[in-house]
């Protein structure tokens, strides 16, 4: 078996997939305590396609602002700088991964599940009471949670296929990440976490991506990671159009405990709400 390490695997990706300039510069500005809203608005304005997307999203029911937002600086000030970073990443990442094709899953199916996870995470975050959980931040984490899968599918197609066949041969009893661990010695969550690290994405995103199948490991952002873990499973329910949790993998009880959310109260309304939102969200974020 190929002994590729996760770090080597991800290093090879950086030549194939680059994050757009606009994101990298926004990311730097958000991290920089001396930068102003005006600085960020200026960077955004230099990228016409991101400007258009930002204004579309800012004026969509997604944010539900009462008045029209017609300038970038107004959008930046009402949406907030760290949310602009999330938005830049959300709208850029699907595009940038077009350079990483694979034969195992269509990009459409991949982003369909990811977007469901993002929507569910956002809905859940609004219901979390234990402490503030930023809906836009976990939206982005949800959107990116399986990003390691695209790396594995592109770089290790044979092993990736073997993993998927193992899942099917088990009658869907073995989860994908466990099959990957058996075949490769690592899984897509680990690979995605490493990619987030090499890309210097915010540590919260890195942790949510790396531990969405293993909430116990999350040290700094257990709440956000738990939200993404639950969101991933509820996204599968939305995707296969079921309200019965027995039809998908179980949620780790620890995730319910950390979030203070109650399965019986949350699952059905959240899955329904995500199903209502998906078509609009696909238009906004996947440009359909």
């Amino acid at each position: 078996m190929n002994k590729t390490t996760v770090a080597e695997l991800v290093k090879g990706i950086n030549d194939l997939v680059t994050l757009p300039d606009v994101f990298i510069r926004i990311n730097q500005l958000v991290e920089d305590p001396d930068s102003s809203t005006a600085d960020i608005a200026k960077v955004v304005s230099q990228d016409p396609s991101f400007t258009v997307r930002l204004l579309r999203v800012a004026n969509s029911p997604f944010y539900g602002f009462s008045s029209t937002i017609d300038t970038v600086s107004r959008a930046v000030s009402v949406i907030g700088t760290s949310q602009i970073r999330n938005l830049a990443l959300s709208t850029a990442v699907a595009r940038s991964f077009e350079g990483l094709p694979n034969n195992l899953v269509s990009m459409e199916n991949f982003w369909h599940h990811s977007l469901y996870c993002a929507l569910v995470a956002r809905i859940l975050a609004r219901q979390v009471k234990v402490r503030r959980c930023e809906p836009d931040a976990v939206f982005t984490a949800g959107l990116l949670h399986d990003i390691g899968e695209l790396v594995i599918f592109n770089r290790l197609p044979e092993q990736a296929k073997e993993s998927l066949l193992m899942v099917l041969d088990s009658g869907d009893e073995i989860p994908v990440y466990q099959a990957e661990n058996q075949v490769m010695g690592f899984d897509h969550a680990e690979v995605g976490g490493e990619l987030a690290r090499q890309w210097s994405l915010p540590p919260m995103l890195e942790e949510c991506i790396a531990y969405h199948h293993d909430v116990r490991q999350a040290q700094r952002y257990p709440l956000e990671t738990a939200v993404v873990h639950i969101a991933n499973i509820l996204a599968l329910m939305a995707e296969i159009d079921t309200l019965d949790p027995a039809d998908v993998s179980p949620v780790d009880p620890l995730a319910w405990e950390i979030t203070g959310l109650v399965a019986a109260e949350v699952i059905e309304p959240v899955v329904r709400e995500a199903r209502e939102e998906i078509a609009e969200a696909e238009k906004l974020f996947l440009g359909k």
């Binding site: 899953v105 269509s106 199916n109 369909h112 599940h113 099917l168 009893e173 599968l236 296969i240 159009d241």
Partner: protein, 213 residues
């Protein structure tokens, strides 16, 4: 699936020794894994399962003796099928493969002691799992319905069509069945298995004679 089986592997009926079987802890039973084009008949209390894209699985059993099994098939595309004319010639190349799959399953059940009047049938699959392609799943469903109607066999339950791949697990001894919709992550892998099966049947056409019973 690490824990050891609590039973012995049931004896396979003659002709089915090659089908891969394994212990499934979740169901505490052995189960045979079918790939496209295969079928399996058993008189023991064991499961048969498969994963379906646009293919069909018929699950048939003698509800009195419990002998039964499952097949997994699809009709190959043909020129007449594309023209929408496959229905009018029921012995066209396309339907021949469906007849072949259904008759093999039914004949083996009867050969091993099943009674025709006791047969109950469940059908699954025929999903439109790939967007933008012609709905070959619908064609397979129509074939299965027509075939069973012509043969006078009663369908007691079905879960067909829609856009999902499926995992179907069937216990002929009890008639119990578990259908699980699969996420679209698995669509390509399942479709690839089905396409490979279609290529093998295209390369090796079945003979014109079908043993009738």
């Amino acid at each position: 699936m690490a824990p050891a089986p609590t039973q012995r592997l049931p004896l396979a009926l003659p002709g089915f020794e090659h089908v891969r079987r394994a212990w499934h802890n979740a169901y505490e039973a052995f189960a045979a894994r079918l790939l496209p084009g295969e079928y399996y008949v058993t008189q023991c209390d064991e499961g048969v399962y498969t994963t379906l894209g646009s293919c069909i699985s018929a699950c048939i059993r003698d509800r009195v003796s419990g002998i039964g099994g499952m097949n997994h098939f699809m009709l190959p595309a043909s020129a007449s099928a594309e023209a929408g004319g496959w229905k009018s010639t029921d012995l066209s190349d396309a339907t021949r493969y469906g007849n072949f799959a259904m008759e093999h399953l039914i004949n083996d059940i009867l050969k091993n002691g099943g009674k025709r009047q006791n047969l109950e049938v469940k059908i699954f699959g025929g999903g439109r799992v790939m967007k933008g392609m012609t709905d070959i799943g619908a064609r397979n469903i129509t074939f299965a319905h027509d075939y069973l109607k012509t043969e006078g066999l009663r369908v007691t339950s079905e879960d067909v069509g829609d856009v999902f791949p499926r995992m179907v697990l069937y216990f002929p001894a009890t008639g119990k069945v578990k259908v699980k919709r699969l996420r679209s992550l698995h669509s390509n892998t399942i479709v690839e298995q089905e396409v490979r099966y279609l290529e093998t049947i295209a390369a090796k056409p079945v003979g014109g004679e079908i043993e009738l019973f």
